[in-house]
């Protein structure tokens, strides 16, 4: 990971800033237009989760290179209540927040790699990666 940029997420406006930063980095590593759109959409869902369910947190966006391909990695971290039933939370249509229940499950479909680390009372960290084709 290199030259990461970090945004504190505490308001709606910060979610917009996350979208804009991810878009800029996605263009700079030359993701295709469809992949840019998928990644920015996933980032929007996950940053909103950080805000709404995590009570705010941080988002870090970095360029990555695995020797064969370039890509972007984004880490969404909060110190919120954590997710009690991860499998349920990743089910389409399940929500505790009055949304559509597509944020977490949908975001997972839009990226290449999706890691989630959560513990009750300690918070949740979601790491996603999208690689150039």
């Amino acid at each position: 990971m290199s030259d990461g940029e970090r945004i504190e997420v505490g308001t709606d406006q910060d979610v917009v800033r996350v979208r804009q930063l991810v878009r800029t980095v996605a263009v700079s590593v030359k993701l295709s237009l469809v992949d840019q759109t998928k990644l920015v959409t996933a980032a929007s869902e996950l940053a909103r989760n950080t805000l709404v369910y995590g009570g705010g947190g941080t988002v870090e966006v970095a360029r990555v290179d695995n020797g064969r391909r370039r890509g972007i990695q984004i880490v969404f971290a909060d110190q919120g209540p954590g997710i009690a039933d991860l499998e349920l939370a990743l089910t389409d249509g399940y929500t505790t927040g009055g949304g559509l229940g597509l944020g977490l499950s949908g975001a997972r479909r839009l990226v290449d790699e999706f890691l989630i680390d959560t513990s009750i009372g300690r918070g949740t960290t979601v790491t996603v990666t999208k690689w150039c084709r």
């Binding site: 917009v16 949304g99 597509l102 479909r109």
Partner: protein, 136 residues
């Protein structure tokens, strides 16, 4: 907070979303539109999203809610101008926007509204871009 303008074009309310909306801005648009539909007695709402480079689940849900509210207030909503990459992403996200009528651009959206409504389309059409009315 920014606000999305709502224009009255003949019997149609035209909304062209040109900014990356905060969630609150989307909710405000929902309220503003409901009020304008009642105040203007318009029967058609056209929402142009051609400037949006993403539609996430929040904006998708807001569009669906706007369409439902409009219907209850006797107005039809057509969402126009969705970019291909946005359509691909929305469907993969799991949102196929059932209940929302769509058209590829503003002209086609106006035709759609005109076709199934009995309101006088002349005023709106004459104000629209020339190609819309110049067709033989």
């Amino acid at each position: 907070m920014e606000r999305v303008p709502i224009l009255k074009l003949g019997e149609i309310l035209l909304v062209s979303i040109q900014i990356d909306m905060e969630d609150q801005v989307a909710l405000q648009l929902q309220e503003d539109l409901a009020e304008r539909i009642v105040a203007t007695r318009c029967h058609g709402v056209l929402i142009d999203i051609s400037a949006l480079d993403i539609v996430d689940s929040f904006v998708g849900r807001t569009l669906a809610t706007i369409a439902s509210i409009s219907r209850v207030l006797d107005a039809e909503t057509v969402v126009v101008g969705m970019r291909p990459a946005v359509a691909i992403t929305l469907v993969e996200l799991g949102l196929s926007l059932p209940g929302i009528r769509t058209a590829l651009n503003v002209e086609l959206g106006m035709e759609l509204l005109a076709r199934d409504a009995s309101f006088d389309f002349e005023d709106a059409a004459s104000m629209a871009v020339d190609e819309a009315v110049d067709e033989p």
